[in-house]
Amino acid sequence: MSFQSTENYIVSDELALAVNAAMTLQKPLLLKGEPGTGKTRLAEELAQSLGAELIQWHIKSTTKAQHGLYEYDAVSRLRDSQLGSDKVHDIANYIKPGKLWQAFTAQQRPVLLIDEIDKADIEFPNDLLHELDRMSFYVHETGQQVSAAQRPIVLITSNNEKELPDAFLRRCFFHYIRFPDADILRQIVAVHFPQIRQQLLSTALDVFFELRELPGLKKKPSTSELLDWLKLLLAEQIPAEVLQQKQQQGGLMPMFGALLKNEQDVQLVEKLAFLAKRQGR
């Protein structure tokens, strides 16, 4: 059981090793990396390739660790008691299992994705320490102990908005997803657009990497933006020659909106293009 590139998802060797090591040792794997390098996508593909269920827990700034375990819906219990419903006598009727509970009690070993853990309160990871370590927790209202039949594969992503506590980090494996190099990127594109013409692709990649290397860009375009841009180029049927011409003369690339998401960045590229044009004259 080892994870490798699939038909529609390319992983680097490093990342494959990280995933496999985490699965073998049953440790949570913490993933960081530039936005758009496929952190969330990895969980989907991993679940698919293992034929396992994917349980996604998207973290927001208001999410508490308790939400992942269970929630006690006291308000509807109160309402039921006013209406004289029989359900009210069993408190278990009002315990709503959270994502961790679901993952612990799944039939088959599932993949649990805790997405963007850094969005939550700074104490959030600490509150989950014990649950992730022991893979069990206690429901106070019913006195029930929920433990995992088999340890789920836990993937955690972070965008680095907050530092995570040391105690939490010690219990995870950590992998920083680097921006793919030209070779891997070519493979990724080939997976997404099998019929893209070779010439268009290599010109587009040139333009793309040139853009990424431009100093002073506020937001560097990432893989997902490249894929969007290629989609547009293909949809508009822009021939490679036009792209090449634009690149040599300078000037904004066609459909630049897919790559540049910031007004200042657009201006910067325009300015450089203007300089380049003057030099060409």
Binding site: A21, T24, L78, E161, L164, L169, F174, Y176
Partner: protein
């Protein structure tokens, strides 16, 4: 097993723990990898390092342990993004004309590199760093604290460099200088104390929840009032010796600007005296009295100075010490007044920390600030934020 390796890592300042070492050993025992140094490198990094800013330290430690510390490919690391802003800033009118003649910035950079290479050859003293006083118009760039040697492009003897020897994560090391995003991240830590103080506000959701849990018996819940607006008063040193750090300060400023709703900023020169100003062009006509500042902005503002604190000691300690005007009272007095009003204060110094002890004025200012001075690096900024919160 691997104990020696583990201690090498600790020697390089990595905070890896024993649990993590045991994880690594367990992974090896389970044969996740087998007899492959590169895979071992990745596995060790996966288990022992938990922050990409530590990757560079790890690379260096790994290289030491496994010897073969191949020469690092310095030539390819000439930091364009450090050079470009500086070049643009230092261009004179003639240079700009020359730039047009040369074409793009890239051309210029290339020429700069060539020239630096030549310069290095002339100072044929072995591994000389490029100094500030060089004859080349570009010589000033030698200040790079990392001490990057330039001019080795031509040496055809490139060895096959191993992954860890490339040290590709060097720019993520938190000791290095900042970029805009990392500044924002550091500043974001100031948001921590959003709800503080006495619990005086009715928490409606909490009350409903608590009341329901009590089966309808009213249970009032209160939360502290939200102080989500952190207020910041920034004073920037401009001109003179600060020119070298303009780019850096602009980045800090841009980041601060987007992170805080209540931000007031003013400029001063070298040391704070009775007046500061908002607009550097009209600095002599539109000064704001520091007393007004103290009376306008409450003591809940956090005070941040940004300056290199590099000046003559008399500029701080004597009346009339200012280089620009006659000041009735010494700068020290004004600094102390500001500090008395704003207990949460810190001084950010763009000068590299190892130079501080060479300047008397820095230690004077540091004393006045009660040691609350931090270098303008990511780590320094993080420390500074801790001091402020």
């Amino acid at each position: 097993m691997l104990v020696e390796f583990f201690f090498t890592l600790r020697k390089y300042g990595l905070k890896s723990s024993i649990t993590e070492l045991l994880d690594l050993l367990q992974a090896l025992q389970q044969q996740v990898i087998f007899a492959d140094t590169e895979a071992f490198y990745q596995l060790a990094r996966l288990t022992l390092v938990k922050d990409e800013s530590q990757y560079d330290k790890f690379d260096r430690a790994f290289a030491e342990y496994f010897e073969g510390v191949a020469a690092i490919d310095l030539a390819s690391q000439i930091p364009d993004d450090w050079l470009i802003p500086d070049i643009i800033r230092q261009l004179s009118a003639e240079d700009k004309a020359a730039l047009q003649g040369l074409g793009s910035l890239e051309e210029l950079l290339k020429q700069l590199r060539e020239r630096l290479a030549e310069q290095q050859k002339r100072h044929a003293g072995g591994n000389k760093w490029i100094g500030t006083g060089g004859t080349s118009p570009f010589g000033a760039y030698g200040f790079n604290p990392e001490g990057v040697r330039i001019g080795q492009q031509g040496s055809g003897a490139r060895r096959a460099v191993k992954v860890w020897d490339k040290r590709e994560f060097k720019d993520l090391d938190s000791q290095s200088e900042l970029n805009n995003r990392s500044i924002k991240l550091a500043l974001r830590q100031l948001r921590r104390f959003a709800r503080s103080g006495a619990a005086t506000e009715l928490d409606l959701n909490g009350t409903i929840q608590a009341t329901s849990e009590q089966g309808g018996y009213l249970d009032l819940r209160f939360v502290p009032e939200r102080h989500n607006a952190v207020k910041v008063l920034m004073l920037f040193d401009v001109g003179g010796s600060m020119d070298d750090y303009i780019e850096l300060c602009q980045q800090v400023f841009a980041a601060v600007r987007t992170e805080f709703k209540h931000l007031e900023f003013f400029y001063f020169h070298n040391c704070v005296y009775e007046g500061v100003w908002r607009n550097n062009q009209r600095r002599h006509t539109e000064q704001v009295s520091v007393l007004d500042l103290i009376h306008t902005y409450g003591s809940d503002y956090k005070l941040i100075f940004v300056g290199d604190a590099t000046m003559g000691p008399y500029e701080i300690d004597y009346p009339g010490g200012s280089v620009e005007h006659w000041n009735q009272e010494p700068g020290r007095l004004w600094l102390e007044r500001l500090l008395a009003q704003y207990p949460k204060a810190v001084w950010l110094n763009p000068q590299p920390e190892q130079w501080w002890r060479h300047y008397q004025s820095i230690s004077i200012i540091k004393d006045i600030m009660q040691q609350r001075m931090q270098p303008l690096t990511l780590e320094g900024l993080t420390q500074a934020i801790k001091l402020l919160s």
